[in-house]
């Protein structure tokens, strides 16, 4: 038996023993998601046990090194773990910006001390992180951010405001872009700092979106003191880290587009809702054409995600192509939800009530409108493709 086969058997046996039965079904709603943190609210003992067991094994961050609490798995092993989890329909034990965003940044840019201090609690789901990037005056032009960070000798002093901070009101710590040099050109005066959301001077205010509730907040910093060892990387070079993370984020957002073999196709959804003729074809022929086009693009997009991953594995850089994935994936997702709304007709408009799960589809549809705005708008992605990939000159800015 090869090592990988042995690993697969062990993994299967371990999951069989440790994944609670109630954690082996798809999440039904946001309430089933487990975000961990100091004030974690577990919906069941099973949910807590599942997180604790996976966290102890390091499998909430399978590919991170063991010394930082991670699973220490190689790519092939991580793939097997994922397959085995899919096989038993195991829910993700943890949703975490720490795992998705901060961790990769710390692994690449953090000091040894920072990695040892911050990574293990992320893996165990003990500290919940949020991301402080956008500001009211710095959206698409993120590098123009103004949150002030002054060197006060033994500490930094932070004043300013962030916006669109996901789950700021429920998070324990923030990784945050701040301006540390107001004289330098805008990209060269930004630093990347970490601090506790319980620090004096931090306050948050939730934002209501067109879809109803949202995870987004406004976050205010009023004379927040931050120890200087919580600066990540080099002072004034935080933009490098930000760019790295934005690329990472784009890939993640892009990945939400397209259909996959695991989920129901748009075609199936429409046939279930509206019916088919004697040949099994959706009765609304105009809608059928549109769905076919969206499904073709969805498949081709998924294949492009797959190809990009395979090329990266083979040593070819992804680089600015992540902008293409972000652009196309989010536009596609908007198209998919338009078609889902069309397929369900008047019932798709329901906003309250059990039948519609309090307007789940309508709210999701509205929420997708933000996909092509957050993480860099579609227009910004097209700018990046034009400049970085096509080599076209910068437009003259007025």
């Amino acid at each position: 038996m090869s090592d990988l086969e042995a690993f697969q058997q062990q993994t299967r046996a371990w999951l069989e023993e440790n994944c609670p039965k109630s954690m082996r079904s798809p999440m039904r709603s946001e309430a089933d998601a487990c975000w961990g943190g100091r004030n974690a609210k577990f919906s069941s003992d099973d949910q807590k046990n599942w997180l604790d067991r996976m966290g102890a094994k390091g499998w909430t961050a399978p590919e991170w090194p063991k010394e930082y609490g991670g699973g220490g798995l190689d790519k092939e092993q991580a793939k097997i773990l994922k397959q085995e989890m899919v096989r038993i329909k195991a829910r993700p034990p943890l949703q975490s910006f720490g795992v998705w965003m901060l961790g990769p940044a710390l692994l690449k840019f953090g000091s040894e001390e920072q990695k040892k201090h911050f990574l293990p609690p992320i893996v165990r789901g003990e500290i919940r992180w949020c991301q402080g990037y956008s500001e009211p005056g710095a959206g698409s032009d993120l590098a123009s951010l103004q949150t002030k960070c002054e060197d006060k000798g033994d500490h930094f002093l932070i004043n300013g405001q962030k916006i669109w901070t996901s789950y700021a009101d429920q998070s324990d710590w923030i990784f945050c872009l701040v301006r540390t040099d107001r004289e330098a050109s805008k990209h060269l005066g930004i630093s990347f700092v970490l601090f506790d959301m319980a620090s004096s001077g931090v306050s948050t205010k939730p934002i209501t979106l067109i879809s109803g509730k949202s995870p987004f907040c406004e976050t205010f910093f009023d004379d927040v003191k931050v120890p200087k060892q919580q600066l990540v990387g080099t002072l004034n070079r935080g933009w490098d880290i930000a760019k790295y993370l934005l690329t990472h984020e784009r890939e993640m957002i892009g990945a939400s587009g397209g259909s996959s073999s695991g989920t129901r196709s748009l075609g199936e959804i429409a046939v279930t809702a509206l019916g088919a003729n004697e040949n099994g074809e959706l009765i609304d022929t105009a809608l059928r054409s549109k769905i076919a086009s969206a499904e073709i693009d969805g498949w081709a997009f998924l294949l492009t995600m797959e190809r990009t991953k395979d090329e990266a594995k083979a040593g070819q850089g992804v680089g600015a192509r992540s902008s293409m994935l972000k652009y196309y994936g989010t536009e596609l997702n908007k198209r998919r939800f338009e078609l889902m709304m069309a397929s369900k007709g008047l019932s798709a408009l329901e906003w309250e009530g059990d039948a519609s799960n309090d307007g789940q589809l309508a709210r999701q549809w509205l929420r997708t409108k933000g996909n092509s705005i957050e993480g860099g708008t579609s227009e910004v992605q097209l700018n990046i493709i034009s400049k970085r990939i096509l080599g076209l000159p910068d437009p003259k800015m007025v």
């Binding site: 693009d297 294949l303 034009s386 096509l390 003259k396």
Partner: protein, 378 residues
């Protein structure tokens, strides 16, 4: 299987690119067109390709082929698309070679060695109407002694002029529209009662209309069983569709790169027009679409070899998507080049015309989107 090209495939691509850039650039296609050449492709060039083994790229080794796989053929077609290279490669080496895999040993021994050497060109006589629709076939094959007699007509047969052999789909039972009752025949193009008329299409390639008047074929010329013609032909059609997709990918990329270069040179209002966001965003969108086409074509060729069960669906995906994007690439090319894009002097129009034909052949967007939907259960 990883969705990337193997080293062997990359080497073949490099070889194809090098050869075609030298021996068959767009200028040679243009010269061929201007000369009014009836054949539409160069026998000398085809001979050189055959020398390199391309003619038999899908033919089994025992018949003198390379048995390299469709991914290799697709790479060659992509480079041909870039150069607008005219040749019988698609018709003979991709479609016919695939169809003949199901033929009797005698038929194979009779045709495949010649095909692999490039000495025989075989075309597919399929269409009878103006849209691709194999099950609509109404040409009749009537039992006659040991064999059959064919009567009817086939139109827009690419590489039909001066073809040595013809693959013919004809009805041995049922009526137009039935998917059953069709049979596939391999016959000599010199057969008695068969007449060909050249028909000139906008892409200046080789097309013929055929009339069949009591054309005799022997029972041994039947490929597969009587009535199983459509399923015998299906892999060949899919190979052809994937081949056309690859060709259109190459042609689209050439349009796109030419256009992008022009955007960096052409100045208006005191700046290069490539600095205008209105053009940048359209270019970046086209770039994204082309990435999707590349993935679809690569996957289709891989699945054709490794996962035949999926091949039809992915072939339709590739053909639909590549045709759609190729039309966009040509349209954007002409529009962004502006007035000069409309002139015959520039190559953009040549690409636009070939793309228009290639996206129609073996099924256009509607045909394949429809088929994709059916295969996906809606």
């Amino acid at each position: 299987m990883a969705l990337i090209y193997t080293e062997e495939q990359e080497m073949l691509r490099d070889a194809a690119k090098g050869f075609l850039n030298d021996a068959a650039p767009v200028s040679s296609f243009r010269a061929l067109r201007d000369s009014g050449d009836a054949l539409g492709w160069s026998r000398e060039l085809w001979g050189q390709m055959a020398q390199m083994g391309w003619a038999g790229i899908l033919v089994e080794e025992q018949y003198g082929g390379l048995d390299f796989g469709l991914n290799g053929a697709a790479l060659i077609l992509e480079e041909m698309g870039r150069n607008l290279t005219a040749s019988p490669f698609l018709a003979s080496s991709v479609i016919a070679a695939t169809a003949l895999r199901g033929a009797s040993d005698d038929t194979k021994a009779n045709w495949l060695p010649k095909l692999a050497q490039g000495k025989a060109v075989i075309a597919l006589a399929l269409e009878e109407g103006v849209k691709h629709d194999p099950s609509a076939t109404s040409m009749v094959a009537t039992k006659s002694g040991n064999g059959y007699r064919l009567n009817g007509a086939k139109s827009y047969v690419f590489e039909g002029i001066e073809a040595d052999g013809l693959l013919v789909l004809a009805r041995t039972d049922g009526s137009s529209g039935d998917e059953t009752g069709l049979s596939l025949f391999m016959l000599d193009a010199n057969a008695k009662g068969l007449s060909a008329d050249a028909v000139k299409l906008l892409d200046q390639r080789n097309y013929a209309n055929f009339t069949f008047d009591d054309v005799e074929v022997s029972g041994g010329d039947l490929i597969g069983k009587e009535g199983a013609g459509l399923s015998m032909l299906e892999p060949a059609l899919n190979a052809g569709r994937i081949g056309l997709s690859a060709e259109m990918l190459g042609a689209s990329l050439q349009c796109f790169e030419t256009t992008t270069e022009y955007l960096k040179e052409r100045k208006q209002f005191g700046q290069v027009i490539g600095s205008f966001q209105g053009l940048q965003h359209r270019s970046a969108h086209l770039y994204s679409e082309l990435e999707l086409v590349r993935s679809a074509v690569l996957k289709a060729a891989q699945d054709f070899e490794n996962t035949p069960k999926h091949a039809g669906m992915i072939a339709s995906l590739a053909k639909a998507k590549s045709g759609e994007v190729a039309i966009l690439a040509a349209n954007e090319g002409v529009q962004m080049l502006g007035g000069i894009g409309m002139t015959d002097e520039l190559d953009m129009g040549l690409y636009m015309k070939r793309i228009r034909a290639a996206q129609e052949l073996l099924g256009d967007y509607s045909f394949h989107a429809n088929r994709f939907a059916k295969l996906r259960g809606f």
